[in-house]
Each structure stands twice: as C-alpha cells, then as structure tokens.
C-alpha cells in the first residue's frame, strides 16, 4: 500500500541541471519545493577527488556515474518494421543518474542556438520556399525566439562561468569570435581557454580556407571565477578527464556545486534522493496533475501530492514519464496524429581523423572537456545548405578533450586491430593525430519517435520506452558533406593522411555518439504538433511543465545544454511572473 505524504507546492522530478536551476530560482517564491531524485547524493569532496577520480575504467568504461540499465533502459529499433530489443548495456548515449544528473559528467561545451535554429521553419520557407521541406520532415519553429531567450542564455553562461570570445556583441561582428552567432548583450564571463596545438593548426587552416574560427565556448573556467550567485570556481587543470568524470577543481560547471547549494539554503526546500518517480497522478478530469508516485531505496511506495509538477528527469526520462502518466496524446506514426514521442531526434555527427608526421606533437592528454577551436561557417543559415541537398548544418571543430587511451587510440585505416602492426601503429600515432569533427543538426522525421514497448519492462514493472530511430536521407547527406569539409581542413592543416568518417548509417545504439537526445515533448504554438507551449507548459495539463532537450522541435548542430539551461531560467521566470500569479494555461490553444 502506498503511503500518502503531506502535499508540497512545487515538485521537481529529477535533480540535474534543470531541476537544480528551478529549485534555486523558485526559492524566492516562498513556496514549499520538493525535488525527487532517483539516484544518490554526491559531492566534489569526497566523491571526485584526485587521484581516484581519474579512473578511466571505472568512470568511462564501466559508466559508474550513469544510469544503470539493469534497472531501467529502453528498447530500440531502426524502423517500425523491426521488433525493438532492449538496450542491454549503455552505448550510444549515457543518461545521468544521481544528484547533479549528467551535469556532473558532461564536457561543458556551452552553445547558444542561433536565431535560425529557433525559427527554422519560418526562415527556411522565407529563403527557399516550402517545397524544400521533404514531406516526411517535421520542421518547426520553437514558439520562442532567440531574442526572447537571449537574457536567459546570458544568465546560464554567467552561472557556468563560460570561457569564450564573443563574435557578435549587440550586432557588432568581432573577428576571433563566432561571427555567425546571434547578437549578444554581453561578452563571455571568462576569456577563452588556452589554445592547443590542434586548435592553433585548425585556426590557421580554417582562415586559409576563408572560414571564421573561434574558441569553443567552454564551461571549464579559464581562470578562478566567482559567479553572480557567489559560487567560486577553480581554474581548469586541463587534466583531460572531463567527459564521464566529475571535476576535482570545481572548474567544470555542474549543478551540484553551483545552483544546488543555494537551493539547499532555502528552508522551504527539500531534496529526497533514491526516490524513483513512477508517474504523475492526474485527477478524474485528466487535465490536472495532483502529485506523483515514487518508490524509495527500500522499495516502499509513496504518493506525494503537489500543486505543480516540473519534469526535470532528462529528455528521455521526461518523455517516458509523460507516456507512463497518460499526459498528452501519444504520437502515432501511421495516422500521423498525437504528439508525445513525436519528433525524437539526435545528433548527426561525422568528422575526419588527421594523421601527422612524428615531429608534430598534439599531446591530446593535456585537454579540457570543451577545449577546442570551431567554425560555424556550415551551421544553421550561415551557408546555403540547399546547395548540398539537405536542411541543416553542423559545428565543425578540433577539440582537445583528453587522451584517455582505452577510448582513444587512433590508427590509420587499414591498420589491423591487434598484433605487432597494430601496436606499432598505435605507438606511432598516439601523440601525432588530430581529430576534426562535425556536430550535425538532426531534423525531426515522421518515422523517428518514442512510445512504450509492448514486451519489455523495467525493475518496477513499467513498460520500457521504445525508441524508433534512424539517420534518414537528410542526415546521411549532411554527415557525408560535412565530413568532407572536415577532411579538407585536415589536409590544409598539413596532415600526411586524413580519414573521413560519419556516425554509423543505419544508426546504431552501440558506439557512443552523444547524449544529445532531443524531442518527444516538443514546444511550439500549435497543440496538434507540440506537447508544450512556448513556456514549456503542457497544453493538456497546465500544472505540468517540462524541461530539457525533449522540448526541442529539431536538434541544432550544437550541444544542447546552453539552450537547456537558458530554457530552465526562462521557465522559472514564466512560473514566477505569470503562472504562480494566476495558475492556468499561459497560452490559449
């Protein structure tokens, strides 16, 4: 029998980046706030201290900080003709688990999406006409523009102490920054990180080719920094153990030492860890949430009543919760109706490995998660993508994020995977190879979606979410074209040999690609094609709000968290300034 608990005003489901931001921002309301996090507590000290923190096997290979798929996973197939099978071990993406979520073990590349990204449909049609959009593609505007989000991007960058260089300050283009970015009100809070050999060579080659290189925006502090909330950052050590690891120096922004300690000072805030939310409970009308059911570490079930529920359980977790709770109409790819699960997208990435002579030392082990030099000359609408036969683009760059040898030991194509020749090639190329990568956008397509699996269940007995996803024609072309650009830059850098590659087509759940899962609960201005309105409020159940990249109508050629963080601040303001003053739908359907 479930135990009925005392009601709270605001309930946050999941305590990572977005849950942390909401908890901190809503403190000023004086409302009683409760965060439920399925994983355990953790902190920089004692959990991420040297030298144990730099353990590639434990954290990168065995995924200690990530979701345990023996408990909860999803099923996957490439298309709806196949039978989906469980993702039995982690691979393509690594959802977080525990306080701080994936914010603890991300890399820290912190972008703003471009004005084009937020209005991709309108701007594409304006430039090329509606005919350019393939029939099976859902190209949509976000319902919120870049200009509306700009102050919130700014706020998140300051929280994170992003190191970078502006390329468009209030409309003025600045060489050395990203001249293709939307207009910014402020410079980045910290100067760029130090440039590596790979970055310097990429910079020069890109300029030679007429492109516009700039330092990648990094939530790895280039110098000691105190953010506007009074949180102190240490300077980045360039240790090269960022992605999949906690940071010993508090130099990589993470909610666990920034927004969360401030949220915890609020006497009206409570965090319960090891609390796995099963579903959101609705009243008899189905139009109002009345709380959630969760299960604690001992397997006890609780009913937690709440006036307002915010889903902050990562993109995939949020969509699963909507489906389990019966909130919103599930998407049906056959009738092409319904919205929950619709427009699942990912990241269409490709690149080139550039092999150099033995006199060129890249020393990639001296790196930082987000340390890199990039160009946006092939991203969003900074170029004529129609000429290439697809919609979208990607950020291209040379990053130096570490040299952890189990995961990264490049050898030229044709090298055997083992034996003496393999060993010789590994020793020859380890220090002398640069990686140029494209992080491509991923448009939403009719055939790619999330729903519930008819067969498989998690340890709690709930159906697993089923992912039906493939890289379709648009993305396959994009990956190929931009891999060629990467290869051209590699040659211009002076590589002896360049090996272009793309993510696997058909998409495979096996090799790690990115934890940039998007869509499934997209935002927009039409309830027939979106789950939430421009304030990320569920159309059908107005006292439920949804955070995370699941609200992206399609994914941009950039990492998601800059936008995820900005949207969390945007939602906080919508709650404080609008919803809590007069609870109800903030936008008329």
């Amino acid at each position: 029998m479930a135990t009925q608990l005392k009601p709270v005003d605001v309930l946050l489901v999941g305590y990572g980046w977005t849950g942390g931001i909401l908890a901190k921002e809503l403190a000023s309301t004086g409302l009683k706030i409760l965060a439920l996090e399925r994983g355990g507590p953790r902190d920089t000290s004692p959990d991420f201290l040297e030298p144990s923190k730099d353990d590639e096997i434990r954290f990168a290979v065995r995924h200690e900080l990530m979701q345990d798929v023996s408990r909860e996973t999803l099923t996957f197939r490439n298309d709806s003709k196949q039978t989906a099978l469980p993702m039995r071990q982690l691979g393509s993406f690594l959802p977080g688990n525990g306080v701080g979520g994936a914010g603890v073990h991300w890399n820290g590349v912190t972008w703003r999406f471009s004005p084009w990204d937020h209005e991709a449909h309108t701007r594409t049609v304006e430039k090329y006409g509606a005919k350019i959009i393939p029939e099976d593609m859902h190209l949509q505007d976000w319902g919120v523009s870049y200009d509306e989000l700009e102050p919130y991007y700014d706020k998140f960058e300051k929280t994170c102490g992003v190191s970078g260089k502006a390329g468009n300050l209030k409309g003025q283009k600045i060489d050395g920054g990203n001249v293709f970015e939307g207009a910014r009100t402020n410079e980045y809070p910290n100067p760029p990180l130090k440039q590596t050999q790979a970055g310097a060579m990429f910079d020069k080659a890109a300029r030679n080719l007429g492109y516009h290189p700039f330092p990648a925006p990094a939530s790895n502090a280039s110098q000691p920094y105190v953010n506007p909330d009074g949180i102190a950052y240490g300077q980045c050590h360039y240790c090269g153990f960022c992605e999949r690891f906690g940071c010993e120096a508090n130099a990589k922004a993470s909610p666990h030492f920034t927004v969360m300690p401030i949220a915890a000072k609020n006497p009206n805030f409570e965090l319960r860890t090891n609390a796995a939310v099963q579903k959101v409970l609705l009243d008899s009308t189905g139009k109002k949430a009345i709380g959630v059911v969760y299960i604690d570490a001992r397997g006890r079930e609780f009913i937690q009543p709440a006036d307002l529920v915010v889903l902050s359980a990562f993109a995939l977790g949020n969509v699963a919760l909507l489906l389990w709770s019966g909130i919103g109409k599930p998407y049906d790819p056959v009738t092409h109706t319904g919205v929950v699960g619709r427009s699942y997208a990912y990241q269409a990435s490709s690149g080139a490995t550039a092999f150099f002579d033995e006199k060129t030392y890249f020393n990639n082990f001296m790196g930082a998660g987000a340390l890199g030099t990039n160009i946006d000359d092939f991203n969003g609408d900074s170029y004529d993508f129609a000429k290439y036969g697809f919609i979208g683009g990607g950020g291209i760059g040379a990053s130096t994020s570490g040299g952890r040898p189990i995961q990264g030991r490049p050898t030229p194509p044709g090298t055997p995977r083992w034996g003496l020749d393999w060993k010789k090639a590994t020793a020859r190329h380890y220090l002398h190879t640069a990686n140029i990568s494209n992080q491509g956008s991923n448009m939403a397509h009719r055939a790619n979606y999330l729903d519930l699996d008819p067969t498989y269940r998690d340890i709690y007995g709930r159906p697993l979410m089923r992912m039906t996803f493939n890289f379709l024609d648009n993305e396959a072309k994009l990956m190929k074209s931009l891999a060629d650009v990467c290869a051209t830059i590699g040659k211009e850098m002076g590589a002896e040999r360049v090996d272009a590659r793309t993510n696997p087509v058909p998409y495979s759940i096996v090799p790690y690609q990115s934890t940039h899962n998007t869509g499934g609960a997209v935002m927009g201005d039409d309830p027939r094609t979106s789950v939430v309105n421009k304030y990320c409020q569920v159309w059908d159940v107005p006292n439920v709000f949804v955070t995370g990249a699941c609200v992206f109508p399609q994914n941009a050629g950039k990492n998601p968290t800059g936008t995820v963080g900005a949207l969390a601040y945007w939602i906080a303001d919508a709650l404080k300034d609008k919803y809590l003053k007069s609870p109800g739908a903030l936008v008329r359907a």
Binding site: R88, K423, V510
Partner: protein
C-alpha cells in the same frame, strides 16, 4: 558480424537456460547432446579428449599467480591468446607481461563479469547488429564458453590446443574467430572475440591498480603520462613538443 547469425544459438540457449552457464567450460561442452551442428562433432570429441588429459605442468605453475576466475586450462588459453593479440617486441610490452590475464580474471570474477549494469530480462532475440548485445550471457559466461569453443575449434582444425600452436598458427586461428569465419559451438565468434579484445585493451591501457598495464609500460610506449594530470602551466610550454614529465598511476599518488 554477419557471420554470427549463422551460429546456431539454440544449442547454446539450451545449456545456458538450464543454468549451466557458470559451469566449467569442459562440462558445458560435454553436456550438449545431440550435436546442434554436424561440423561440431569432431571439435567436441577432440576437446573432450583434450580435457580428459591431466593438466600439464605449465598450468600448475601458472596457478602460482593466483586466479579468482579462470581455471588452469583457461589460464593457459588466455595467455596464449593474449600473447597473440599483443606480442612483446621492442616497441612495447606484450599483453601477458603487462598483466592482462590478471586484469581479465579480476574483472570476470567481480560485479562486471557477473552482469552488473546489464539488462538481463527476456525474451531474448538475435536482433540486428545496430541493436547491440542481445545474448543471455554475462561477460563471465560469454568469455568462459567462448574459451572452450575456441579451444575446441583449434583442436578440430589444427589438432592442438591454442597454447601448443606456433605463433603464426595461433594468429590464424584467432583471425578466423575475429572475422567470424570460425564456426563456434556455442557463442557467436565475432561477439566473443570483440569482448575478449576489449578486455585485453582495458587491461593493457587501464590504470595499473586493476592488475594490468604493469609498470605503466603501455602508457610509456604511447606517451600517455597518466594521472593526476595538472597541465594548466604546461600546455603552453609543451605545445608541439614531446612531454617530459613523469608517468604516474593512481597508486603512485594515493
């Protein structure tokens, strides 16, 4: 990996499903009856014969290292396979001297080997390569069963156990397994090989605290200085230059 599909998995499921997957490889091989594929019969007969022989002195000596998971026959096999995958030469250490067998033994005897963080609920189906690992086997089950299979394959095709073959023949046997050309009795050749190779590389390049990468020799070979890494003041100094600092592992600092 297409060849893996041709492997008859039902024969294996019968055994694994009966809860015998953790039984020693010899027992596993002997229990199958009738043969699931005709070509297996000689392999199995040969292996049964081999397994009936008294353990050679070499295996006994090996056991002085101390093993948590592998039996002496498996230790001999693993060392022969490791010596083939990464032989010693002037470039750098071999996998055997690097301690990869110890690494594997500890991994397979612990939580990882026993299937921690592996979703093991049925029903099981083969799926497509894109759908990833779908066997009802923990890493320990898979490695153990595959060792017996490859040993049987070597006996059937080369009339000797892997450890008794010369280096070139061992490499030929493992290449056939790697490429899925070897028909193994119970496990899909390519999947087993990938798992074995991954564990080898983890042991070779992982932190020495796990029992492999002895003397950090694999790190020294490629030029990875290890942990903890504080390069804020060195990144400019060593730009485009060989790094001259020490190579350190977790135990050098802790």
């Amino acid at each position: 990996m297409g060849d893996d599909k041709s492997v008859d998995r039902r024969g294996f499921l019968k055994v694994a499903g009966a809860g015998a997957a953790l039984a020693p490889a010899t027992a596993l091989a002997q229990k199958i009856d009738p043969p699931v594929q005709t070509h297996e019969a000689p392999a199995r007969a040969a292996m049964d014969h081999a397994m009936a022989m008294p353990a050679p002195a070499a295996a006994k000596h090996d056991s002085l290292d101390g093993w948590l998971f592998f039996n002496p026959d498996e230790v001999s096999f693993v060392k022969a396979a490791l010596d083939t995958l990464i032989p010693a030469d002037p470039t750098g250490p071999g996998a055997v001297e690097a301690g990869c067998a110890t690494y594997m033994d500890r991994q397979l005897s612990g939580a990882y080997g026993r299937g921690a963080r592996l979703y093991m609920q049925g029903p099981f189906a083969e799926g497509t390569p894109q759908q990833g690992y779908q066997l009802p086997l923990t890493p320990a089950d898979l490695i153990r069963a595959g060792i017996a299979d490859v040993e049987a394959y070597a006996l059937a095709t080369r009339k000797a156990r892997l450890r008794d073959l010369d280096a070139a023949t061992r490499a030929a046997v493992l290449t056939e397994v790697d490429q899925g050309k070897a028909q193994l009795a119970h496990v899909p050749a390519g999947i087993w090989f990938n798992q074995f190779l991954n564990l080898t590389m983890e042991g070779y390049f992982g932190d020495p605290i796990y029992g492999g990468n002895k003397d950090k020799a694999a790190w020294k070979m490629i030029g990875f200085p290890g942990v903890p890494a504080m390069y804020a003041d060195m990144i400019d100094e060593f730009r485009n230059k060989p790094y001259t600092g020490a190579t350190r592992g977790i135990q050098d600092i802790a």
